[in-house]
């Protein structure tokens, strides 16, 4: 026996509500984050991620209330991302009950945050979120995947492979790797990218962006070599329960946690 592969559900939160971006329609509110969290916990999800998508000052307290209420209500670990740009904001969400913090754009702008967070709270607390976009291979970006920030709008000129290994050296304890090109398409994860990153680092890698069917998660943790796969819309709209996904993965021979 060994560590099981994890299924992680990501919840975007806006003004205290779970929300989902829909093409051409903007954001649609889905409901109470605590209700969603408890439901997924009961379905056997291994971890949750809460993302503060507005990260505006006025919504920040509403979001911290959500984090505290979630911590009091679920029996599994969860991480928090969005608006984490200093040791203070890290400390605040960890004290509110989150297990880990996820840093994306702020880590690109200020890579020292990774090491500072790891020194203060332990590397296992610090997740590096990376948005990766397929580009032409150049001498600057030899892997053919570029780090983009601000939800994919801004290219950084950084090579994904170079960035994840640097982040590992600086103290990141886990990588959440989101493929911008396949995100929301629900046609499978970017397996080549996932495998490349999983082979390059010795910290756990979460595959994100593209999960639509249970076999996609199986591919991510086998062919892709990921330790975990992240889903959102495929469970938010009721197409699948987490239990159904894990049962299908187990049937494919993947070691996952199946709860009674």
């Amino acid at each position: 026996m060994a560590l099981l592969k994890r299924v992680i559900v990501c919840l975007d939160v806006r003004r205290g509500q779970v929300t989902k971006g829909i093409k051409f329609q903007g954001n649609v509110d889905l409901g109470d984050p605590v209700e969603y969290a408890v439901r997924y916990d009961e379905q056997g999800v291994d971890e949750l991620v809460f993302y503060d998508i507005t990260a505006s000052a006025e919504d920040r307290n509403l979001f911290l209330d959500v984090v505290e209420n979630v911590a009091a209500s679920i029996r599994i670990p969860f991480s928090v991302g969005g608006g984490i740009d200093s040791l203070d904001t890290m400390r605040t969400v960890l004290l509110a009950g989150a297990e880990k913090v996820s840093l994306n754009s702020p880590a690109v702008r200020n890579p020292d945050l990774l090491g500072q967070g790891a020194a203060a709270f332990g590397a296992q607390c610090v997740v590096l979120g990376v948005d990766a976009k397929k580009v032409e291979r150049t001498t600057e970006i030899p892997s053919g995947y570029e780090v983009v920030i601000q939800g994919g709008r801004t290219p950084t000129g950084k090579d994904v492979l170079q960035w994840v290994t640097e982040a590992e050296d600086r103290g990141a304890g886990e990588i959440c790797l989101n493929a911008i090109d396949t995100d929301g398409v629900r046609d499978g994860y970017e397996l080549e990218l996932t495998r490349m990153v999983a082979d390059a680092v010795r910290i756990p890698v979460i595959a994100s962006g593209g999960g639509g069917e249970p076999e996609h998660l199986t591919e991510a943790v086998t062919t892709g070599g990921a330790d975990a796969a992240l889903v959102a819309s495929m469970v938010h709209y009721g197409d699948y329960t987490v239990g159904e996904i894990k049962t299908a993965m187990a049937a494919d021979g993947v070691a996952v946690r199946i709860t009674a």
């Binding site: 026996m1 560590l3 029996r75 297990e99 330790d227 946690r257």
Partner: protein, 216 residues
């Protein structure tokens, strides 16, 4: 002991406060199960509690220095000697031993013989920290696992880079595997300890906490 009948007053649980990470989640879990939980380093509160939990996430050296500074080494030993149920979790398990190799070597509480070692794994696919869900094998008849009827559903949540290596005289009640089998649970009479986080381990974790709070 409580002054009131247990039917009227919930049993109280003292959760030792030594600035370790995420102690709140232990308190949340205990309260959800219907018990009173207090995160405390007050010796009287600890003495009067029905149960004591020694939780924690953190580095051994810092943890030990706060434990000593607050006299929690003495309070914990008194609690163990009093016969009430005491539960060490994660770093709270590791600190019970003689010595930890973390932070260049730290002298710990010495309530159990043995030492705490770092994972040294050759296989590059095995990662340190050992983080995530791993199935646990419990010793037969171990009271803390009494409600875990399905042997295929014992996965617990772990986050740690060091593991306990007890002397052969210690009763190992739980093991798991990460590169090699290792001890993740020990018991000595009323003192029980686990490396995993029952407060983060879903229904399995809740059933472990319930068994402890019911007196196991």
């Amino acid at each position: 002991m409580s002054q009131h009948p247990a039917t009227l007053t919930p049993m109280s649980v003292a959760i030792l406060d030594y600035n370790a990470g995420n102690v709140t989640s232990v308190a949340h879990a205990v309260r959800r199960l219907g018990y009173e939980a207090e995160i405390t380093h007050d010796h009287d509160t600890i003495r009067n509690a029905d149960h004591v939990i020694f939780p924690g996430v953190g580095a051994a050296a810092t943890c030990m220095s706060v434990v000593r500074e607050r006299g929690l080494d003495i309070a914990l030993k008194d609690a163990v000697d009093s016969g009430k149920p005491v539960f060490g979790i994660c770093v709270g398990m590791q600190l019970l031993f003689d010595h930890s190799d973390e932070d260049g070597g730290v002298e710990c509480l010495g309530l159990l013989p043995g030492r705490v070692r770092r994972f040294e794994l050759d296989d590059p696919s095995l990662k340190v920290p050992h983080m995530g869900w791993n199935p646990v094998t419990f010793a037969e008849g171990e009271p803390i696992a009494k409600s875990l009827v399905d042997a295929s559903d014992t996965a617990c949540y772990f986050v740690h880079s060091y593991y306990c290596d007890p002397d052969p005289s210690v009763d190992v009640i739980a093991t798991t595997d990460h590169g090699h089998p290792f001890c993740v649970g020990v018991r000595k009479d009323n003192l029980v300890a686990l490396q995993c986080h029952p407060e983060k381990s879903g229904p399995v974790g809740m059933s472990i906490l319930t068994a402890f709070l019911e007196g196991s």
